[in-house]
Symmetry: C2
Subunit: 234 residues, 2 copies
DNA sequence: CTATTAAATTAGACCGATCTAAAACAGGTA
DNA sequence: TACCTGTTTTAGATCGGTCTAATTTAATAG
């Protein structure tokens, strides 16, 4: 019943909320969805009328429980589709996002469950983001951003990397900074450049925009991260 | 670039055209898509402006080559998705249609090709309908309707069955009248009831609405029809 | 406390897809 | 020929989602 657009808004609001917490501002949503603020205002009005979010004029917006559920359903479909594309159709991790963005609005619950079963109930998508189970009991976490988690000299395990921006993702894949790898923070400059050393000893300078999208847990994991054993800790 | 609605219209027009030939009337389209004739008129106007079909007011409509191509692309995606759902996700033949109808508008060319490859270039979907190859060089045929092809006493091989109407399809599956089975026409009544005898010797009375959706080739095939060896003959 | 500025909202328009109700048309019948 | 009858088109409205331009509000600096 919800339209594609409605699902996109809920998903975007959910993401922002889970990073910087509510309230979520009009401009944050506009930014995330590449819409004008005016458009967002009117959409958000109608979302509020439907009970999917609560809204304080000029203040921002927060998902209601109903909105949260709807958002999680989209996230679940998105990540399952990503996992499916990578595992069954040999997509590269960098390629799955756009396809999943289109499909996530149009697969049935039946399809979702069958895919989940086919993949044997994966815990995470190819970027390491946890896949909410069918009951949506999502712990929905896994790591904090690089600079928040680690001081220079400390090491951590990459929990996941953002799949939002294709360029950023490609940068990280090239540098072999992917879920499961260990990184040591060498240095953080005043202007946000983060230098890290990876497993193989090479160093990479990550611009702020990139570093902000790498999520790690402090310390090192012994278990490798081929699939997704890291759901629901931290 | 074409919207879902545009693709739906093209697909519907293509189907009608390939059954009863052009021109296709407003009411035929309205019927097929469950829209009002007024709606169809206005949509068809815009399709004509885009060069996807040619139109004679009060006469009907015919796909242009461009429209035909666009329609075949949708058909190709639809049938590949159906085949995929049945083979990879264990859907029953009766269940694939609706899911494919939703997905067909949103899978990329990349996805389509990968699925096609995964399935090893299937010739037909689970109902026996031929899948146009990537170059769309569709022979796009396979069989004529039961009553047109066979006189009482004659036998034929089921080439495909329509997946349009879920009830009809279920009826046929129950009667084990599926692509590849041999049927003998026992009798045809004046009011359109067709009695057929299947492989196993049982007889089934098919109401006109059902019989019209069974496509056969005269005579019997020795080859079985598990997948789709029957593309492009007849 | 006022003035500036950045963010958010309102006002008004547009487009695509749909509908209902009314008018125009085409084909067959008397 | 003139009239029905069913089909098609036109006219005009609505809805969802979007935009631009103008206005209002909240926060901040003086």
């Amino acid at each position: 019943m919800p339209t594609d657009a409605v699902e996109d808004y809920l998903k975007a609001i959910h993401r922002v909320e889970s990073r910087s917490g509510p309230p979520v501002s009009t401009s944050q949503i506009a930014e995330a969805l590449d819409k004008t603020p005016a458009t967002v205002t009117s959409m958000v009005e109608s979302l509020a009328e439907r009970g999917l979010l609560s809204r304080e004029k000029y203040e921002g917006v927060e998902l209601t429980p109903a909105g949260e559920v709807a958002a999680l359903e989209v996230v679940r479909r998105h990540r399952l589709i990503e996992a499916f594309l990578a595992e069954q159709l040999d997509y590269e991790p960098t390629e799955v996002h756009d396809e999943a963005d289109a499909l996530e609005h149009h697969v049935s619950e039946e399809f979702t469950r069958r895919v989940e079963r086919l993949l044997d109930y994966p815990a995470a998508d190819p970027h390491g983001d946890p896949i909410p189970p069918a009951d949506l009991s999502a712990p929905e976490d896994a790591g904090t951003t690089l600079v928040a988690a680690l001081e220079p000299g400390e090491r951590g395990t990459v929990a996941r990397v953002s799949d939002r921006d294709a360029d950023v993702l490609e940068f990280l894949v090239d540098a072999e900074i992917t879920p499961g790898t260990t990184v040591e923070v060498v240095d953080i400059t005043s202007f946000g450049l983060v230098t890290v050393r990876t497993d193989d000893g090479t160093e990479h300078g990550l611009p702020e925009a990139v570093a902000d999208r790498v999520y790690v847990r402090r310390g090192t994991d012994s278990a490798a991260a081929t699939d997704g054993q890291e759901a629901g800790d931290a």
